[in-house]
Subunit: 274 residues, 2 copies
Amino acid sequence: MVVSVAYLGPQGTYAEAAALAYTNNLAEEGGEKAQLYPYPSIAQTLRALAQGQTHLAVVPVENSVEGSVSNTLDSMWELPTLQIQHSLVLPISHALISCAKSLATIRTVYSHPQALAQCQGWLEQSLPSVELVSTDATTEALQYLSDQKTAAAIASPRAAELYNLPVMACPINDFPENSTRFWVLGLESSKSGNQTSLAFSVPANVPGALVKPLFCFASRGINLSRIVSRPTKRAIGEYLFFVDLEADAKEAAVQSALEELLTCTETLKIFGSY
Amino acid sequence: MVVSVAYLGPQGTYAEAAALAYTNNLAEEGGEKAQLYPYPSIAQTLRALAQGQTHLAVVPVENSVEGSVSNTLDSMWELPTLQIQHSLVLPISHALISCAKSLATIRTVYSHPQALAQCQGWLEQSLPSVELVSTDATTEALQYLSDQKTAAAIASPRAAELYNLPVMACPINDFPENSTRFWVLGLESSKSGNQTSLAFSVPANVPGALVKPLFCFASRGINLSRIVSRPTKRAIGEYLFFVDLEADAKEAAVQSALEELLTCTETLKIFGSY
């Protein structure tokens, strides 16, 4: 069987590197072959999986400098339950890619907003007066660079190789310990693992609405390795919570916490253990 | 006395509207006059206050659609303790401002990344092939619009008036119930109020490190109205937590929770009650 994998494309993105790392490992373990399909946005990547166009999807979840990737969390909440199959962390090294003669002739820098943010100190110092342009993926602008000698893009050194473009500076990320965590998602219920992810909304305008869900875990000594709030988009001060537990959903304590959680949340989505 | 107020400028930003709403109220209550000073970024606005250049600073904290403003939280953590004096919520209505003849002739849209994100549905539908350019403030590009007939900016209708520019469409935000919360910050310790904000880091690689701080509040029935994690920027999976409590720091239960919190956090910053 060939496993089809949707990822945030085009070729050369960090998400593609993560998808390759995962599928190469699959191939070594069980001989399964994989075919990768790029999608232009995180929402479209996850929608492709939810609609059954692919078996798996690989999307970024959080970066060590910029934090959670809001688009991923928002899409996971909106789509029918996607299940996390695997989590993997990739080191991130950003390169300034351009056909300009020198830094001084660069007028515009294109990249994904997170990559621009991760290099903002370097950009302020080295290219203080350039225009920063947001793109859907780090590699989106690479196809135009050979014609635009005053433009640059921030992407991976591998992307520069793929597009046969020169790297002017690397690494340019402000924090050298820069890494991104990716989730491999599928529709099959996930296997066991020592991490469990879930999300819930709490009833609006109920005092103590968040303390109860947190108490379900705290009172059982289940640690949360991450808790992220996202707005419900209905009114200010109304949130969804995305929580990672350091435990397997199959453990008795977690089972009992999840049962109690059902009684004090409005909507509860369990993304599985991995 | 004239109260000096730093805000995320230039003139016409939503932060300026929030600063005006706050200082007009001050003037009505006690006759204190205010002078507003625009700064080009959130970090610089907060640094101006921390360095004593102004008495107060007004910055956005969270939006009902896009969530927390990371730059504000990250700067508050890095600077010597700033104290929250007041919190206020403004409804947000985004306008497409341009001197273009029609939507069809627009090639570029400039705005702050959060404003671009809040209008992404409208932009995909009405201007599917334009380039989106991030700016430090929603109003940054307005000064160039009269010369660039193929450019547009997303800012408030008030900004269009201030710069004497035409509004082509309004509102264009995807969620009509769009509002932003602002904090008014100062260096004086804040007064009382039924909300308290704080932030803490937890020791790295200690199992159960987050459950203990949460338990300090949960076990005393103190509700959290918001909890936001931000990366420490040292390593993936290491976070700071920003927490809003629905209680006054002067209450006995909160005092006792904060004492216990000191024993299970690495660094604890209390931003005051308001």
